[in-house]
């Protein structure tokens, strides 16, 4: 059990940390869980929203809780550096009031890195962030890396009262709560026999014979259990396991998502070929479709393209959210910071823009207003905002949570923010210590619409940079900064890195108010 840190005195202005790695529904209308990790501390924030008449999302309250054991977290250390799709996302699945939000749990390895699967979290409420340790059997020591048996998928069968958990090389675990006592059983997938076998104590984890299980889902209409495995896509029936897709036969299916109306089933395939990750996005859409087909990528006019985003970079899917006919597929590039979501409708993924270089833009994100700072999007979910409205939420690495009540047309950013005084009464640089290329946000608050000039001075009060000059900014209840412009990147007016030292940031408005902030840059390269 974890202790709640308390509600915010300023609604909508606190998160456990702005480094949010996962978002998921919290069960009730307008409620959302966010899981954050800031260095060695991890915690959850429960956000409550309501929707104004015009469709604007308003943050009603936020409250936080730190995980009880500070040597455990849901965010493993390989989330950025790993290149295997199944280890580049954090499965966050809402499993009803019995379990709440389910998240994997990791402990430190001998190198003090969170790379040892240790069980799963069950986030029921702020006072019940439950840690459910799951031991690894002895034969797991024979695997190359403990992360091969990381929990990468959850599915809760509320009828049978069984929680199914995909465990990679350790197959599939079921946590059965139908009896008086709960029981955990682990199965491996016997490919030749096409059935699940109970994992024996002396079993040999031959991954050719017993392929890894990366994801598990319950079909929302039939209730069947679907398994995404290293050898195709399978569905469990009374007689054993049955392959459900010829197109994905023997494919390394790393992720599986189901939802929307009409029902869409989306599958991700990904495998390594030398240094590259070869990814693919597949789906079944509508009742007439018989098998999975590769997702089409369309230009702005709707014409199917031969090349798609996978030809530009190695992408892996982080999450999929469904609203009506549209699936929002969140992807992140391997070995880079590029991230964004694709809008997948009945025809495919349609580009929202063709840029000056004739390059089609399929990814929605910072450029389309989903975040107001260039932050990597880590997670995405759909959640009920009200009885007739589904919200979208994204979690970002450093810029909090963004929520939309209109399927991504407009977004509301929720951040951990300190209180500011009106009329430039206090200026905060967030963060105040940077290296060139980072962004220190100039945070200020105006009592009325003003024209703002922001300048950076060295210690000896030589002006080194004009960030904005006479830029119009609105009055705001929390802060008036425009995050897309009002930041200092540690460079001078000529784009050169400023040397290590303290710099002073002056914000002036056209009403005679002046505020000062301070930032320290650790310096850069002399070019």
């Amino acid at each position: 059990m974890a202790g709640a840190l308390g509600s915010s005195a300023f609604a909508g202005e606190t998160l456990f940390s702005n480094y949010v790695f996962a978002v998921g529904p919290a069960g009730q209308n307008g409620t959302l869980w966010a899981f954050s990790r800031d260095n060695s501390y991890s915690g959850v924030t429960l956000l409550k929203f309501n929707v104004a008449d015009k469709g604007t999302v308003l943050t009603e309250s936020t409250a936080q809780a730190q995980v009880e054991t500070d040597t455990l977290t849901a965010v493993q250390d390989g989330i950025f550096e790993d290149d295997l799709a199944e280890r580049r996302r954090i499965p966050a699945v809402y499993a009803g009031s019995k379990f709440g939000l389910l998240l994997p749990m990791f402990a430190m390895d001998k190198n003090d890195r969170y790379l040892r699967p240790a069980g799963y979290y069950s986030v029921r409420d702020l006072n019940n962030v439950l840690e459910n340790p799951v031991d690894a059997p002895s034969m797991a020591d024979d695997l190359d890396k403990p992360m091969q048996y990381a929990m990468s998928g959850f599915a809760y069968d509320s009828t049978a009262k069984r929680l199914w958990i995909a465990r990679g090389a350790l197959g599939l675990m079921v946590h059965d709560i139908s009896g008086k006592k709960s029981a955990d059983t682990t199965f491996v997938f016997n490919l030749k026999a096409k059935k699940l076998e109970r994992l024996k104590d002396n079993a040999d984890l031959d991954l050719e014979k017993y392929p890894e299980i990366f994801d598990v889902r319950l079909h929302p209409e039939t209730g069947d259990l679907w398994l995404a495995t290293a050898k195709g896509l399978w569905v469990m029936s009374s007689g054993g396991l049955k392959q459900v897709s010829d197109a994905l036969k023997d494919s390394r299916v790393t992720g599986l998502w189901m939802g929307g109306k009409p029902l869409q089933i989306i599958a991700e395939t990904a495998y390594k070929k030398k240094e590259d990750v070869i990814g693919g996005l597949w789906r079944i859409y509508g009742e007439k479709a018989k098998d999975f087909a590769k997702v089409n990528f369309l230009d702005t006019a709707g014409k199917v393209q031969k090349k798609d985003i996978y030809d530009e970079a190695d992408y892996t899917v982080s999450d999929v959210a469904f609203i009506g006919k549209t699936a929002f597929v969140l992807v992140r590039a391997v070995g880079g910071l590029i991230s964004g979501y694709l809008k997948l409708d009945s025809l495919g993924v349609k580009a929202w823009e063709k840029d000056e270089d004739e390059k089609l833009q399929w990814l929605y994100g910072y450029e389309t207003g989903a975040t107001d700072r260039k932050a990597t999007i880590m997670s995405m979910c759909a959640f009920p905002l009200s009885n007739n409205r589904t919200g979208l939420a994204i979690a970002t690495y450093g810029n909090g949570v963004s929520v939309s009540a209109d399927s991504g047309a407009t977004w509301n950013v929720v951040l951990n923010r300190a209180k500011l005084s009106n009329n430039l009464g206090s200026i905060r640089m967030v963060p105040s210590v940077i290296t060139p290329g980072d962004e220190a946000l100039v945070s200020y608050k105006l009592g009325k619409e003003s024209k703002i000039t922001i300048e950076v001075f060295s210690y000896d009060m030589r002006k080194v940079r004009t960030i904005v000059k006479d830029a119009v900014r609105n009055a705001d209840a929390s802060r008036s900064s425009n995050p897309k412009e009002d930041f200092w990147d540690g460079r001078d007016d000529h784009g050169k890195d400023c040397t290590m030292g303290v710099y002073y940031i002056r914000v002036k408005d056209n009403h005679g108010h002046i505020g000062w902030g301070k930032a320290m840059t650790l310096g850069g390269s002399f070019r």
Binding site: V464, K496, T499
Partner: protein, 349 residues
């Protein structure tokens, strides 16, 4: 009347120079403020601050190891100076110097310059204030001079910086380094007292034994290399000073000017005007009543006012001359007033 005319001519010359130096027609490739060396640029000594940070062409300037090591060749007694500046935005500065004569023609001096921020809020990405840091930046000078003639002296000083950011304690997961030391750099100087009225100086600052004789060095902000290493570059400086002494209505008046050229490039010599930043300093002072001096000056675009009072403390038969100085500063670009600068200097005969 002739004296007044000379003073007016000098003042006009100085003003026209300053005008030229500040209204450079060239678009620069860098901003001087982004370079290492602000401790040096801000000068040392409240007496000199009150008259526009002019000190290189005055044998009485202290600390001589900083202003112009050649001045140390004119020391007759053991001199000392202690200064403190409290500027707006929690900036605290100071300078200390001690210097004296060696033999008949030589002098030696030590100077320490300090600049710090006493209230730097360390704010993390979550907009939480983690604490208050007190970063500081200091420079040390060891100067030597040789007085070649009664009028000429040559000097050399070795300088080194030591900085401490004081933020490492706030960064978990990074084995961060707080303190940084620059390698030794060399400053060369010449001073000439042309006659009773005129004096001049030439100081070349920040030469090093590295490539291009540049004062450039690598700084590694983390012990575990988790942060990219950075570079410090202190521009080479050519500083030319001129001093003029006269009397107006029987009262001693002084005019000082300095022209500074900063080469903002890591090259031996750059002839591209875009790689040079020129600034100027002017200062005037007048001993309005015996031992009491009023000063006014301008350093680049910053304005200063100053005052000083000289007196002696007698201990037995020995007299110890002491001067107390005050300066008022207006930093024009930033629009900041700083009324708290006090300095003490004197000689021990």
């Amino acid at each position: 009347m002739i004296n007044l005319k000379n003073l007016v001519v000098t003042a006009l010359a100085v003003c026209s120079f300053v005008d030229f130096s500040m209204a450079g027609p060239f678009t620069k490739k860098s901003e001087l403020g982004g370079f290492d060396g602000f401790v040096e640029r801000m000068g040392a000594g409240v007496r000199e601050l009150g008259r526009g940070n002019t000190g290189s062409a005055d044998t009485a300037s202290m600390p001589g190891a900083f202003w112009n090591p050649a001045l140390l060749g004119f020391r007759e007694n053991l001199g000392y100076t202690l200064n403190i500046e409290k500027r707006d935005l929690d900036r605290l500065g100071g300078a200390f110097g001690i210097e004296g004569k060696i033999g008949k023609r030589m002098g030696v001096g030590f100077a320490m310059l300090y600049r710090g921020d006493r209230d730097f809020k360390v704010i993390d990405d979550d907009d939480e204030t983690m604490g208050t840091a007190k970063p500081f930046f200091s420079m040390f000078y060891l100067g030597f001079a040789y007085r070649a003639t009664r009028q000429d002296a040559f000097g050399l000083s070795l300088s080194m910086s030591y900085d401490n950011l004081d933020v490492a304690q706030y960064f978990e997961g990074i084995d961060m380094e707080d303190s940084f030391r620059s390698p030794v750099t060399i400053n060369l100087a010449w001073f000439r007292q042309w006659n009773a009225k005129w004096s001049s100086s030439v100081v070349i600052r920040n030469l090093s034994f590295s490539k291009n004789l540049s004062a450039k060095w690598t700084k590694n902000p983390s012990k575990d290399n988790s942060l990219a290493s950075t570079e410090g570059v202190r521009p080479k400086v050519l500083q030319i000073g001129l001093g003029y002494r006269s009397k107006i209505m029987g009262k001693p008046v002084y005019a000082w000017m300095e022209a500074l050229d900063y080469q903002v490039a890591d090259t031996l010599l750059a002839f591209d005007p875009q790689l040079h930043v020129w600034t100027g300093r002017v200062g005037f002072e007048c001993e309005i009543v015996p031992n009491a001096t009023l000063r006014v000056g301008m350093d680049d675009l910053n304005w200063m006012l100053g005052a000083g009072y000289k007196f002696e403390i007698r201990v037995g038969r020995r007299k110890f001359p002491i001067e107390v100085n005050y300066a008022f500063l207006y930093e024009t670009s930033a629009g900041l007033w700083s009324p708290f600068s006090l300095g003490l200097r004197g000689y021990i005969p």
